[in-house]
C-alpha cells in the first residue's frame, strides 16, 4: 500500500482528516502505520514523522493492543467496531481514556489492504464524570471530600519514600489505621509484615515488653524468650496507635530506637538492629502536649517527619451518603443480605447527627441496622433512638429543597466555625461570593455571634 502521510494536504479527504479532533491512523497488512493525522499526533504525543512506518501497537500504546486489538478483530471479521473504550499511554507517560472505532480498508478490487482506526480523547468527559461523581478512593479509604483527596495524594507520596516516619493525627474513628495500612501497602515494604500496637491499651512495663520483647528470666514469669513487635515487624511497618499515651521513660527508649535504629529486649545484653518503618498515630494534639511538657519535643520531631491530619466526619458531611452506600455494600457481602438502600428519612437523621465517633460510629450504626432490618431498605426506625430523635419525625419527611437547605446550612455553619466566623474567609473556602454567603446566611436564618472573626477580641 502506498504510504500517504498528511504532510501535504492534497485531497479534500485529507483536508477533512486534518481538520477533525478525532485521531485517525491507517495501517497496512503488516500493522505498520501508513498515515497519521494531526489529532493523532496531539493525542498520542508522537509526531507523524516518528509514527509513519512503525508498528501501530508501539505508537498507539493502547490497553487493547496486546490481547484485545479492535483493528485485528475488524480485519479478521470484516466487521467494524464502534466506540470501544480503553486508554492509551502517551509519550509523556500519561494515561488518556479514549474510545475507538475501526474499519477495513480495501482497494478497488475489494481486496483488504489494511485498516483504519479513529480514536477520541475522552479525558475531558472522564474528568467531568469524576467531578460529577466526586469520588476518590485509596485502598480501603473512600471519600469525595477535596480535603481527603489532598490526603490521598500525600499518602501516595509518603508511601514512595520508604523509610520516612509518619505521624497521623485525627479524632477517634477517623481511619488512622486504614491510612497507615494504605501507606504500608503502597510502599516497598508491602510484602513485609504490618504490625499494629495500641500503646494506650497496655500498662507501661507490659508495653515495653510488647514493643521490644524479652529474654527468658528477664522477670518473674518470663519462662521463654519472646520477640517484641519491633522484631515481628522485621523490615515491615510498625503502627503505634495512641502514641500520646506512652510514659516519659518509654518515650526515651523509643527516641533511642528512632535515632540509632537498634534496641535491646528486656534482659538482653546485646542490641538488635531495627529496620522497621514507624507510623505513629494519636487522637491528641501532640504539639500542645510538647508545650505542656508531657511529650518529649525531640521525640515529637522524630516521629512528625510527615504529618497527616485526618478531618473528622462532621467536617466532611458530604461523605456520609457515599460512606453509607459503601458500608451497605460491604455488609451485604459480609452478612449475606440484600439491602439495597436507605430511606430519605433515615438519611436525614444521619446527616443531622454530629458524629463524635466519626466513620467508625457510622459503620457501627449501619451494621446495627443490618441486624435489625428485615427489608431491603434501612428505615429511620432501624437507627439508634438517639439518632432518630436528632430531628423531629415530621421533619424527616423532607422534600429535595428542604434536604438541600439542611445540608447547605450545615456546610455553612461548619465552615464559619472553622474560620472563626470570618465571613470573607468562609466565602473563599466555600468558593462563593461574600454577598452570596450573606444571602444564604439570612435565607437559612443562621445565627451569627457578635464577633465577626476579623478582629481579635
Amino acid at each position: 500500500m502506498k504510504r500517504k502521510p498528511f504532510d501535504t494536504v492534497g485531497t479534500s479527504t485529507e483536508a477533512i482528516l486534518e481538520s477533525i479532533c478525532d485521531g485517525v491512523f491507517t495501517v497496512d497488512s503488516e500493522w505498520r502505520i501508513t498515515s497519521f493525522n494531526r489529532a493523532a499526533e496531539q493525542i498520542t504525543g508522537t509526531s507523524r514523522e516518528q509514527a509513519i512506518g512503525q508498528r501501530c501497537s508501539e505508537v498507539f500504546r493502547s490497553s487493547m493492543c496486546e490481547a484485545n486489538c479492535a483493528l485485528r478483530q475488524t480485519l479478521e471479521s470484516g466487521q467494524p467496531i464502534i466506540n470501544r473504550s480503553g486508554y492509551i499511554i502517551t509519550a509523556a507517560g500519561k494515561r488518556v481514556p479514549i474510545s475507538i472505532s475501526t474499519a477495513v480498508l480495501r482497494d478497488k478490487d475489494g481486496t483488504i489492504i489494511g485498516g483504519a482506526e479513529t480514536f477520541r480523547d475522552l479525558s475531558e468527559v472522564e474528568a467531568l464524570r469524576k467531578q460529577l461523581k466526586g469520588q476518590y478512593q485509596l485502598g480501603d479509604l473512600i471519600s469525595h471530600s477535596p480535603a481527603m483527596h489532598d490526603i490521598f495524594n500525600l499518602i501516595t507520596a509518603v508511601a514512595s519514600s520508604n523509610d520516612t516516619t509518619v505521624l497521623i493525627q485525627g479524632e477517634t474513628g477517623t481511619g488512622k489505621e486504614l491510612v497507615a495500612k494504605a501507606i504500608h501497602t503502597l510502599s516497598a515494604r508491602a510484602s513485609e509484615p504490618f504490625i499494629a500496637l495500641n500503646c494506650g491499651a497496655l500498662p507501661d512495663n507490659l508495653l515495653e515488653s510488647e514493643l521490644f520483647g524479652h529474654k527468658k528470666g528477664a522477670f518473674t514469669g518470663a519462662t521463654i524468650d519472646k520477640p517484641g513487635r519491633f522484631a515481628l515487624a522485621g523490615k515491615g511497618t510498625l503502627f503505634l496507635d495512641e502514641i500520646g499515651e506512652i510514659s516519659s521513660a518509654l518515650q526515651v527508649r523509643l527516641l533511642r530506637v528512632l535515632q540509632e535504629h537498634s534496641y535491646e529486649p528486656l534482659g538482653a545484653t546485646k542490641s538488635q538492629k531495627s529496620q522497621v518503618r514507624i507510623i505513629a498515630a494519636t487522637n491528641r494534639d501532640l504539639s500542645a502536649m510538647v508545650k505542656a511538657g508531657t511529650f518529649r519535643q525531640d521525640l515529637f520531631y522524630r516521629i512528625q517527619v510527615v504529618q497527616i491530619d485526618l478531618p473528622p466526619l462532621r467536617e466532611r458531611m458530604e461523605d456520609i451518603a457515599l460512606l453509607t452506600e459503601h458500608f451497605i455494600s460491604h455488609f451485604n457481602q459480609l452478612l449475606n443480605k440484600q439491602i439495597t438502600d436507605i430511606s430519605p428519612e433515615a438519611m436525614a437523621c444521619l446527616v443531622a447527627h454530629d458524629w463524635p465517633g466519626n466513620v467508625r460510629e457510622l459503620e457501627n450504626i449501619i451494621e446495627r441496622a443490618f441486624v435489625i432490618c428485615p427489608d431491603s431498605t434501612i428505615a429511620r426506625h432501624h437507627l439508634p433512638v438517639a439518632l432518630q430523635t436528632a430531628i423531629p419525625r415530621d421533619e424527616s419527611h423532607l422534600d429535595m429543597q428542604t434536604h438541600r437547605d439542611s445540608h447547605e446550612r450545615q456546610l455553612i455553619v461548619s465552615t464559619l466555625e472553622r474560620n472563626h466566623y470570618n465571613r470573607s474567609a468562609a466565602a473563599r473556602e466555600l468558593n462563593i461570593h461574600k454577598t452570596t454567603l450573606y444571602r444564604k446566611i439570612n435565607a437559612l436564618a443562621i445565627p451569627l455571634p457578635d464577633a465577626d472573626g476579623r478582629r481579635k477580641p
Binding site: Q50, E58, S63, G93, R95, A188, S191
Partner: protein, 135 residues
C-alpha cells in the same frame, strides 16, 4: 542482578499495564534458560508487587504511566520504560552491558528514556548499566 523483560509476539510488550508475560534473566548466569513467567492479570500495581516478590532488580518494558513507574521505583525496581524492539536483541544488549534505550526507544519516546536515566543516576545508581551510562 535479575531483569524482567515484558514480552509479546517476540518483542517488548507495548503496554506494561496489560502485559501478560515476562522473561526473567539473571545477569550472573546468562547461560541459564530464559525463564518465561505469566504476570498477574490485575492492575499495574499488582504486576509491580509480583515483580517485587520475584526479586526483580531491573524492568525493561513498553509504555508505562508515571505513577506506575514511581511505584516500581519505590519497590526498588529500576525501570527502563518505553522500549520497543526485538526481545532477543534487547536482552543481548542488556547482558553485554550495552546502553540500548536510545536505539530501542518507542517512537516519540526518546525524552522519556533520557529522563529515566537521569533520575536513576541521581538516585540509587544501582545497576552497572546506569553506572556505565554515567561515564
Amino acid at each position: 542482578m535479575k531483569a524482567a523483560f515484558t514480552i509479546w509476539d517476540g518483542r517488548i510488550a507495548p503496554v506494561f499495564d496489560v502485559a501478560g508475560q515476562i522473561v526473567v534473566i539473571q545477569r550472573s548466569d546468562p547461560s541459564s534458560t530464559q525463564q518465561c513467567t505469566c504476570l498477574p492479570t490485575g492492575s499495574a500495581t499488582e504486576k509491580i508487587l509480583f515483580l517485587h516478590q520475584q526479586q526483580i532488580d531491573v524492568l525493561v518494558c513498553g509504555a508505562m504511566t508515571q505513577s506506575t513507574q514511581l511505584i516500581a521505583e519505590a519497590h526498588g525496581i529500576e525501570v527502563l520504560p518505553f522500549i520497543a524492539g526485538c526481545q532477543q536483541e534487547i536482552i543481548k544488549c542488556w547482558l553485554n552491558d550495552q546502553p540500548f534505550e536510545q536505539h530501542f526507544a518507542m517512537p516519540g519516546c526518546n525524552g522519556r528514556c533520557r529522563q529515566t536515566r537521569r533520575r536513576c543516576r541521581r538516585g540509587r545508581g544501582k545497576t552497572d548499566h546506569f553506572k556505565q551510562g554515567e561515564s
